[in-house]
Symmetry: C2
Amino acid sequence: MDLEKIRVVQYGCGKMSKFTLRYLYEHGAQIVGAIDNNPAVIGQDVGDYAGLGTKVGTIISDDADRVLDDTDPDIAVMTLFSLVSDIYPHVIKCVERGINVVTTCEEAIYPWTTSAALTNQIDTIAKETDCTVTGSGMQDIYWINVIASVAGGVNRIDRIEGAVSYNVEDYGLALARVHGVDMTPDEFEQKLAHPDDIVPSYVWNSNEALVNRFGWTLRSNRQENVPYIAEQDTYSSTMGKTIPAGKVIGMSTVVTTETFQGPVIVTSQIGKVYGPDEGDLATWRILGEPDCEFELKKPDTPRHTCATMINRIPTVIDAPAGYVTAEKLRQVEYLSYPMQLYVGGGIW
Amino acid sequence: MDLEKIRVVQYGCGKMSKFTLRYLYEHGAQIVGAIDNNPAVIGQDVGDYAGLGTKVGTIISDDADRVLDDTDPDIAVMTLFSLVSDIYPHVIKCVERGINVVTTCEEAIYPWTTSAALTNQIDTIAKETDCTVTGSGMQDIYWINVIASVAGGVNRIDRIEGAVSYNVEDYGLALARVHGVDMTPDEFEQKLAHPDDIVPSYVWNSNEALVNRFGWTLRSNRQENVPYIAEQDTYSSTMGKTIPAGKVIGMSTVVTTETFQGPVIVTSQIGKVYGPDEGDLATWRILGEPDCEFELKKPDTPRHTCATMINRIPTVIDAPAGYVTAEKLRQVEYLSYPMQLYVGGGIW
């Protein structure tokens, strides 16, 4: 048994990293580097920054090359951006040095078709340098692998329906506007229902991962924007006003995924102004024999995302080289013990 | 790739076997034998018996030894009884011949402490003859392995709380009486709350499996009977009367499981007279960081149990020899393809 600690660089020291740094620390990782370009955090000890109650001796730096050259990390925990094109240069810095990467980047959960060229470039370099790149977070478990777990008790799947959500209030005015908040249904239909360019939503990628998780092949993906109409007057702090019943309070991006084997996956990603008792949604139905429905109630999306990332580390380190999406990896396990015990066939 | 079909003996041709036989048939198993001692079914072709729309050529027989001697099954699907002491002689007939067994027997999900001697005897013989015995069904996934899947996105577990249920109306008058139906709370307290002999409930076994699934060790198990009081008048067809609000309509068997590592598991197995809109429950909370709660809504327990059993077959065939409980096996997978593809490293 190898009791060497797992060495980690935290790549991106924003809001999410306060969770990931603490979770790493609690599970016995050695935080050897931390990278961010925000002047407000550069120069801070990560122990102070993340409120660990102790200094770790590792200082947040904006010189990514220097951090990666002067440390010997097993893996970078990358909490940056939502698109593969944005994380690409940062991932390349890691994989050129043979450093594994696990990232919260939402598209990275299954970017094989939405960013095929970049993903294949990363895959090629990672195979040359013998490291692994994986996207993880909330979707890894609650939009993909738990659905597969639940389906283990199902005889026949005809259709899978999912609904996941986030609160538009958490992301500022620009996002509220592109979600149609305060529009009439007619305005929404004219301006947002039929965009010229479809930007694949996060559930586009997670649906593709589900298709591969079940061993099916993709026939088609179709995405629609559907307005979410207020059933009652709803106050939006972002808009600074009450949205009256009958107007739009957000939208649902519905991705319908067909497979050549028959089963269809329809997942709605809902961004709306939450009412006072609402929380995030993760509700799934499997239609077949038997039908079944399950719900994760008001999940704490940031903490689940960060816990999943950290719990993923042993399986990424143990994975074959290349860009390996999460649905192909060993199941992510709760870490009952310090994480090094889960690497290399220790506990799992 | 080995395209030899999986050969199966259906051991027990009662209510559940109508599902398991059809699921086996749909997933490409070869049903080579069928055993039951009920005169009403002996002599029937299993295709006729299970409504497959075709004869299979295999006749239900009450001569278990003859069936097992005259066929070469890879596995017996045993849908008999709830206690290991009851299935024991039937399991022995299989393992002495080197035939794998998967069984719905509820105690069999984790019988290492509740039936230690018999389980170790089965384990010893199975290792001599190179076959595997596993208990499966609803609990395998929805009381054990899905909890582990969901926990993959949790940083720290302090406590796990579960509630599962069944309808007392489905099991006759004797069961309704031992569940205290129509008693006053005082009568329940005197007659049922403190039994002299505690018969471990099914969640006693599944809690122990959960402890092992997370790599913890068992400090103690405690079981209590708690009355379920009617909040409104509730008609019981089994009792042939309406139970007034304030009287008992069933009971909850609560098992509290402590571990040496700290986490506590408290699972309630509820047997009560259902109201018109009620269904089976499988609700779980993980308390820690973050807290999370998930619910399988009104699960179709018989179909989930039977689908899980059949989907389990490839992992039981591939398992090491011995009595191998389900929490130690590879994850049970939905069978997108005929089941032989999942054995021996084909698809998984």
